[in-house]
Symmetry: C4
Subunit: 172 residues, 4 copies
């Protein structure tokens, strides 16, 4: 196993939406938009929160479909955000967490400014080639098909909390 990219515990996990928490598809009907999320990603974000890692979702696009999923998972979220760094800085100021105690999962160029600032930048394996030079980890699973679950497991193992998850389900 490679050296973990940061020495301290992860306290905040920033997440992009389209192409990260979804498979990148933006569905449309005449009544509005549709997104495809992944059941095991959502469950993992509940585990993260229970284990003391705050998930914070920041998306460049506004969407009623994304908002519906965010409420379903009760996630702190910011949609339609042009300056993702400014939002993240407000979260850090409020929580007292430092950049190097944050991870970020993303897939495309708008995520690079955050990738350059957090301690543990993570790209989904089917993300844009242009972002790969800016991350420390790349998931094996694709976006909307386990990438976020995999990232959360990686962070929980790093924080020493993964066995708590297994124990909850008689799986240790």
């Amino acid at each position: 196993m490679p050296e973990p990219p940061i020495a301290h515990k992860v306290k905040i996990l920033f997440l992009d939406v389209d192409g990260t928490l979804t498979d990148g598809v933006i569905g449309f009907t005449k009544d509005g938009d549709l997104r495809h999320f992944w059941v095991r990603d959502g469950l993992a974000l509940e585990w993260a929160r229970d284990a003391g890692i705050l998930p914070v979702v920041i998306s460049g696009r506004d969407s009623l479909a994304v908002a519906a999923r965010m409420h379903d998972l009760r996630l702190e979220h910011y949609l339609g955000i042009k300056d993702k760094v400014a939002i993240a800085e407000k979260v850090l100021a409020r929580t007292g967490v430092k950049w190097n105690e944050c991870a970020m999962v993303g897939d495309d160029l708008p995520d690079v400014p955050l990738f350059r600032r957090v301690g543990w930048p993570i790209a989904v394996c089917d993300g844009a080639a242009e972002v790969m030079p800016f991350v420390k980890s790349i998931t094996k699973a694709r976006a909307g098909a386990g990438a976020v679950r995999e990232a959360v497991e990686m962070l929980l193992r790093h924080n020493g909390k993964w066995d708590d998850v297994l124990q909850r389900y008689e799986a240790l």
Copy 2:
């Protein structure tokens, strides 16, 4: 062909929903959620019921979309269930069926407590790696793309009922 994992006939088939009867996608629009089921899985569950295996669906998440499919297939179902074992025990008490006469198809950690109790635990091939040590069979087909059809065929062959299905369609 390997030895069947149980000696007696299967009487109940417990089923998870997300990532087992679906492909794991949880779609969202502003009006609510969407699920992707698989036509040949549903048909197989009708065959199971006709052949004396009772399908019982137990899901950790509540969902109006899932409920709509359950009514479409007229399946006994329990949604939004935190303690899957407690529900299953009530079904066993009502029917007089024993744990070792039950099979279960699932994909993730919340299914492990049932996997540990039923006679024939079955994982979908694209399930979480953590559940694989707790199952006796793994499907070749992916969830939401034939895994449940394959599991039902396996059980019907075991119960000696598969040829009845073929005969119904002039396919023997």
Copy 3:
């Protein structure tokens, strides 16, 4: 190129829906069902009709979503049909076409009775293994992803009408 399976021209093309004209997914929201069709399949069925092959859709399941697509393509269709052979016989009686002038594209056991009667039975490549012994052709493309387009092209070439299609689009 192998010998064509029938000597005379094809006049009717019977089609299954789920897993043949769709990818097998039956989507559900609280408001009803969803199906995934394929743009190039629909266009090919227009070419078939223009070239004198009548497409007739027969499905075992009733569905408002399927009905919407059928109206969109103005296809003769029968949904919720338990006895597909009886419906097909009525179509043959009305049109004076013989079984050996018919082709059929399907994917699963309920299609076998028609496969056994038509002159040119065709399975989609991702159909159920149990149907393969009953067909004369298997598409290379998957259902809901080009299988019907491929079948139509095969029939139009057989009937000597494919070049008309290419000519229409300046592609000869």
Copy 4:
């Protein structure tokens, strides 16, 4: 890198919809149709416009779902068009752009008349085999999964504008 197929800058990018901007799926519910677009394609079209390439969408099919996405991206669009060449000629007359300053991304036979006229015809890699003889480039990414993003990047590099995109995201 191969010689670029045209010597001058690209000023207009014509785009097909189904099977080019979407994955080819035409979803249906009882309430109408559904399309699957791709987040990174849409973002790339914004970059194209900012960099002086006008995207113009021309589709043979009319669709309220497609119209909703077009408004979301504020794209010039023409739906339900039988004669794509006539529409394109009107756009050229209005803008004063010449055929050899246009690119076109498409997937199927109805796109061939435009492929034969534009300077830089581009097919998506999962397009119909029949169109491939008429194009100068074929994307590596599939339709509805990055093909248009890839085409836009190719055009922006050709026009000398790609580094502007990278710079905007601190990714140079």
